[in-house]
Every structure is written in C-alpha cells, then in structure tokens.
Amino acid sequence: MSLWEYANPVKFIRTTDKVLPWVWTLALGCLCTGLIWGFFFTPDDFRMGSTVKIIYIHVPSALMAINAWLMMLVASLIWIVRRHHVSALAARAAAPVGAVMTVIALVTGAFWGQPMWGTWWEWDPRLTSFLILFLFYLGYMALWAAIENDDTAADLTSILCLVGSVFAILSRYAVNFWNQGLHQGATFSMDKEENIADVFWFPAVISMLGFGLLFVALVFLRTQTEIRARRTRALLARDGQA
C-alpha cells in the first residue's frame, strides 16, 4: 500500500468517489458555520465597523490562491519525475480554481479597501503581487488550452509552472522593493504573541478550513472529469479507426 497506487486513474476515481461526498459535506458545513458565525454572531470591530467581516472570505480565498499554485507545483514535479497522468490532470484541474480564488481575494479586498482606504485599488506590494499571480494563472491555463497533444501540454505546462513559481517569488520581492505597502501585516500567524481576538479567530479558522476542503472537493471533481473526458476521447478515437 503506497501513495502511488492512487496514480492509477481507476483507483483514483474509485477512492475519490467514496471520499467526495464526505469532503463536500464537511466543506459546506465548515463554510456555512464559519461564514454565518462570522457574519452574524461576531461583534463589529471598533475601528473598522462591520467591514471587518469580509475577512472571513478574503483571508481564506487568498490563502487558497497561493496554496493552489503550490499544489500545482507539487503535482507538476510529480508529473516530471514519475509521469503519472492523474498528477498532471490534477494540476490542470487546480488552475481555474486557484484563479477564481485569486479573483475573489482581489475583489473582496477592493470592496474592503473602498470604505477603509478610500480606494478600490492601490499599487501596494501585496495587491500587486496577487495581480501578477493571477496573470500567471491565466498564462498557465492558456498554455494548457492551446496545445492539442495531451502529453506535450502536460510537459510544457509543468515546466512553465516550475519557472513561473521562481518568477512569482522574484516578483513578490521585487514588488516589495518597488513600493511601500498600505496592506496590513498578517492577521493570523502561529508564532506571534499578539493575535486577533478569539471571537474573530474561531469563525475565521473554520471558514479557512471550509475553503480548503472546498478546494480539495473541486480539484477531485475536476480531475475526475478530466480523466473521464480523456477516456471518452480515447473511446471515440478507437471507434473512429474501427
């Protein structure tokens, strides 16, 4: 029994089929709990008023936007090293989800920034590097869509993902250098003594968990779809020859 057994598409589909309902239930449960708790049962912040509540969407989506790219990076590495097709397809499946998470983070940030900073957009390092991350997602998806041969596409996009990761990190630091920030530092961290109050902390953690599970569920589902779509195409091609 090893992890690599799940590289077999049949085994992957069978296992994820069993796991998926649980993941969906948990994800929706966590999201509902976290968001409802956050929106209706937490006090308003004394400085920011009710706008603080956007944190329950903004922070988890931003977190998942970065983690989705990280997951794609790992999946790409697995594809390059061990050439498991499921891994390449999972990377492909994660990209649009990550891109949407990036957009959610940017848009909710803009909604929050308008009343708080008085501007929808500011060329702040964090905002800018998120926008650049979004561009990377776009390029990655465009490359997948442009190439017809599946294996070639998987190879090229995985190398693009590796190179892109390096450049995304470079951009992050370059942008930091280029402009001073308006965005506050991390609100949640493990190592700081002073963190935000528990009333905000618990619902936020639950909704982060919810977003994470939602991401897992969506990636599983999309990977299954990719596998089945490829199988259909193979069947059609075989029928065409016969």
Partner: protein, 218 residues
C-alpha cells in the same frame, strides 16, 4: 557555436525586417506616449525613464517569435537538434543572437529617444547602463517563451501572455535604476539586483528552454 551565431546574425540582417523592426517599434512607442499623456515637458521628463524601459520591453517582445519560429518552419531546428551541439548551447546562442540584433540596438537608441522625452541629463548614463544590464535578461526569458510556443499556429498572443509576467522583476529593477538615476539618488541596490536577475536567468533558464524545446521537437 560561433558558426551558428554568425548564421543567425547574417539571417537577421539580410533577411529583411527583423533587424530594424524592433528599433522602429521602439521609436513609434516613444513618439506615441506624448500624444497620450500631453506635451508638458516636466511630466514627460518625470516618466521618461519608465517609458523608455516599457518601449524597449515591448520592442523585445515583438521580435521574440522570430527567434525560433523561422527555423522551426523550414526544419533547420530539427537539424540543429540532431547536431552534436547540446540543446542548451543552441538556445543560449539563439538568445545571444536575439540580444545582439534587438537588445543592443535598443540600448543605443534609448538615449537618442530620451531627447524626445526631455530625459533629465543625469539619467542618460543610468538609462544606458540599466538597459545594457537588463536587456540580456529580456532576451533569455523571451527565448524560453518562444521555445514554449514554437509549435503553435497562433503562438504570438499566447507568448505575450506567458512572457510578460516573467518580465515583471526585470522591469521593476531596471526602471527603478533609471528612475533613481534621474532623481540623483543612489542606484547601487537596484542595479545589483538587476544584474543578479540577468546573470541568474542567463545561467539557469537555458536549461528550461532546452527542455521545453526538446519536448516540442519530440
């Protein structure tokens, strides 16, 4: 390797268009900017370093598909791939040829176009230096993009989408050097970072480009 370099240079110069096109594009962009933002000289002199950098970057981008596409079409790329020269070497030479035919002329054209934009006197040397240090990075990164999209029918637009985000760090540090130079500030930190990026991509990215090209030639 030298033979390949000379061949590419000769092709670029004689086969029309490629050599002067980048320069002409650079000129057009620089001329269009005052139409867009208005002719106030103080505003122009403030944004001149950035405009020159953007113009150079776009001119570079425009000429990227010539690096590999022509060789791909007539099959000489396949021949090169079977030659004893390693793929990494081929890619490096291609990038070098692109830099000599596009990047280097841009470096020398920038001060001339700076006159049009009322570039501050102190900035001339820094624009020149930052472009000289930064354009090799643009060529090498661009070669990676060209290698990624070489087999595609309409790869040009896709290549811009892929390459432009990769240009961000180079552009930031390059424009920063030019801007600080124009304001008479110290430029050492961004210049060193720009050189770091340039040398870093020169050392590492040819391996990625070669891997990508091998996949595309499969």
């Amino acid at each position: 390797m030298i033979a390949l370099l000379l061949r590419d240079l000769r092709l670029a110069i004689r086969a029309g268009g490629g050599f002067g096109l980048g320069l002409a594009f650079f000129l057009i962009v620089t001329v269009l900017v005052p139409f867009g933002v208005g002719p106030q000289t103080d505003l122009l002199s403030r944004i001149a370093p950035g405009i020159l950098w953007i113009g150079a970057l776009l001119a570079c981008l425009l000429s990227l598909d010539r690096i590999l596409a022509l060789d791909w079409e007539d099959g000489s790329l396949d021949l090169l791939a079977t030659a004893p020269l390693p793929m990494e070497g081929i890619v490096t030479i291609k990038a070098l040829a692109h830099w000599i035919t596009t990047g280097l002329p841009l470096v020398f054209a920038a001060p001339v176009l700076g006159v049009l934009l009322n570039l501050p006197l102190a900035a001339y040397q820094w624009v020149l230096i930052s472009l000289a240090v930064g354009t090799p990075a643009l060529s090498v990164i661009g070669t990676f993009g060209a290698a990624l999209t070489v087999g595609l029918k309409r790869g040009g637009l896709l290549m811009s989408l892929l390459v432009l985000p990769l240009y961000v760090p180079t552009l930031i540090f390059g424009a920063e050097v030019a801007r600080r130079g124009a304001e008479g500030l110290t430029v050492q930190t961004p210049l060193m970072l720009l050189a770091g990026i340039s040398f870093g991509v020169m050392a590492l990215l040819p391996f990625a480009s070669a891997a990508v090209l091998r996949i595309n030639l499969r």
